[in-house]
Symmetry: C2
Subunit: 398 residues, 2 copies
């Protein structure tokens, strides 16, 4: 009826979102949402931090801030990123309204209709949506337990090179796959990126959520080690280390790119919420991040263990495999090629459990013999029971 | 150096922003920023409101929310909008990250490169930026003290009708002009919109800030009276009734349009900050809005009076006029055609005062014999002194 823009004409609610609505019943054991559990948020700490601020800063929280971010937050964030080995002094930092907006802005800055973005398969739904909303063709390169398949990555990079504008990777506790790249695979990926000089969007929301200190070195970003070799837009988030409701993320990129990103953001929302930027600044500056994530790590590790133990115990083995995460929120289950995870979803739902079907994470929206189980949000005492229900659904369909 | 998208290639920091950087010195008396004064924000009330919330709601503030908004905020906001006569039951409401994002989303939903958006001249800078970032051609129709020139509006509507996708109006305490539409002019504008069936984006951030109760009827939105006659996307904001740092605005529009807007928002930032949505919900639900804006109105009225008195006393009259606002934040000064407000800006700056030059508000970025004085942010006791300096600068250039 209305005379929409071309891009709005193609917007419609996805079949997967319709499917997810079926799982909204609170009695369902849900492994669907990729979010932290409400009980884990640092409510009291943050309320106390705000209460202790000088009046001038409480007032500043209500005011507009500069588009690239509230300056004291940028300073505190630089300190934190420097401690993680990131090159904050040769790059420019800006705050965004969640990592989602960071990805959307970077798409706007690099992608014209018909351009190609190379992603992993499977891939974070939000990133696929952002690239598509800017008219991108998406080339999904499969990942295994160690990262992207580099033969297929090389092929994708070599095809129609002028139109490959971005490579999007989420190498650390991948959503939905739950894997972390091995050092060898990171080196191989970096060598290909250096050779082709394509811009990398390195998305890293889960980096702090490793289960074992011994795995921490694997979380070193490419931005920290390969920044001089090819252009890298590093994207981080407060969603998993404070709370998604803050809607705060950030981009660390070469100054020229960050300047374009800030110009793009100006006409999107002027600035991110100053109120939550003030809270995030206090959280960082008062050294609350480290003790908070130290508290989170064993909680998520325990949930992952419960989930993996339940899978080991109940899930059939014939042609079925799943990832064994070293951090983050997710286990990715792969069924035999002929199986359809939507069938498993429907049968699981009858039994009272939900998850997200695989096609949601396929840039082409087709492949559906996989599914994602999130252990981050489900009440701990219901995880084993929920996994058993999913396993039974699979058995009945085998 | 980088292979940017077409739209990013044309992004650059405007000459006006460069000019404004000169005015950043805190010793300057600035009439530049269109924002509330920090001392006026309801800091204590809001902190107390959050403190009194049940734990579950404090926790929800840290979590993702639905893309169209935190449901309890939508309910409270509907109650408020209903009290203002807005048709909340036949339309759909969604929350945005400030009115700026609302305008950006509506642009994305309606505007393709080469389409036309009709705006007022002068026009809010942010709206112009949002329309241009979606490739719009902008047709600016002059306004006088009563609103848009309807002869020129008719002409603009009739030219290349297929490509006129949106009409953008800010009829109530206009930024930058400071005027409010007369009832007759609103009727005439509505008749033309009904005849041409173009979508109206009615931007209404300042509605609550009338100076005199007697003028309140003028603030009745077209959305409240003409909704059945043509499609209206009504946009509001918490920036002037709570604080811009909340980054909260909203769209009230026909359900089909709101659905497209929510799909567009999904890939922009997933949802607006839940934390500030929880605060805004408490502010509305605990009936804090009405007493707060009642406190604000006489403050802004007094500031406007001081500014107008100083203009009456010091500004030369030959070929110079200015608006006499009945609400909002702004006075718009028109100089003789041959004068350039950038010259006045430079001379004023030497004397220690700043404002925003007229070309910033010209969709074509050309006309520059006007300028905007904001009285919302300047310390009250410095307004008269600042205006005198500007008046002297004008005198010296006459």
């Amino acid at each position: 009826m209305y005379n929409y823009s071309t891009s709005a004409q193609s917007m419609r609610s996805s079949a997967i979102r319709e499917l997810m609505k079926l799982a909204a019943d609170p009695s369902i054991i849900s492994f669907a949402g990729g979010m932290p559990n409400n009980q884990l948020f640092p409510c009291e700490i943050v309320e106390e931090l705000y209460h202790s601020l000088p009046l001038a800063e409480k007032q500043a929280a209500f005011q507009y801030g500069p588009t690239p971010g509230y300056p004291p937050l940028l300073e505190a964030l630089k300190e934190y990123l420097r401690s993680r080995g990131l090159p904050v002094d040769t790059n420019e930092l800006m705050v965004t309204s969640g990592a989602m907006q960071a990805i959307s802005i970077i798409s706007k800055v690099f992608v014209d209709t018909g351009d190609t973005v190379i992603t992993e398969y499977p891939c974070f739904i939000g990133a696929v949506a952002a690239f598509k909303s800017h008219g991108a063709n998406i080339a999904g390169v499969p990942i295994d337990n160690d990262g992207m398949d580099c033969d297929q990555f090389r092929t994708a990079l070599s095809r129609d090179t002028k139109r490959v504008k971005l490579v999007y990777l989420s190498p650390y506790f991948h959503n939905p796959a739950g894997i972390i790249y091995s050092q060898e695979r990171k080196d191989a990926v970096a060598a290909l990126l250096a050779e082709h000089q394509v811009v990398l969007l390195e998305d890293d929301p889960y980096c702090e959520l490793y289960f074992d200190e011994a795995d921490k070195p694997l979380t070193t970003p490419l931005k920290a080690t390969a920044d001089s070799r090819f252009p890298i837009c590093y994207v981080g988030s407060f969603s998993k280390i404070m709370g998604p409701g803050m809607r705060l993320g950030y981009i660390l990129a070469p100054p020229e790119i960050t300047e374009k990103c800030a110009l793009a953001k100006q006409s999107m929302d002027s600035c991110s919420a100053t109120y939550t930027q003030v809270l995030a600044k206090a959280f960082l500056a008062e050294n609350q991040l480290a003790p908070y994530v130290e508290k989170l790590r064993p909680v998520y590790k325990r949930r992952a263990d419960i989930m993996l133990n339940a899978l080991d115990e109940h899930m059939p083995r014939e042609g079925i495999s799943w990832t064994r995460p070293k951090g983050g929120f997710y286990v990715w289950v792969t069924l035999p090629e002929h199986m359809d995870s939507t069938d498993v979803f429907k049968k699981s739902l009858e039994k009272g459990t939900a998850f997200v079907v695989g096609s949601a994470f396929d840039p082409q929206g087709v492949k559906n013999n996989c599914f994602r189980l999130a252990f981050s949000h489900t009440p701990e005492e219901r995880i084993a029971e929920g996994v058993e229900k999913v396993a039974h659904a699979v058995k009945e369909l085998l």
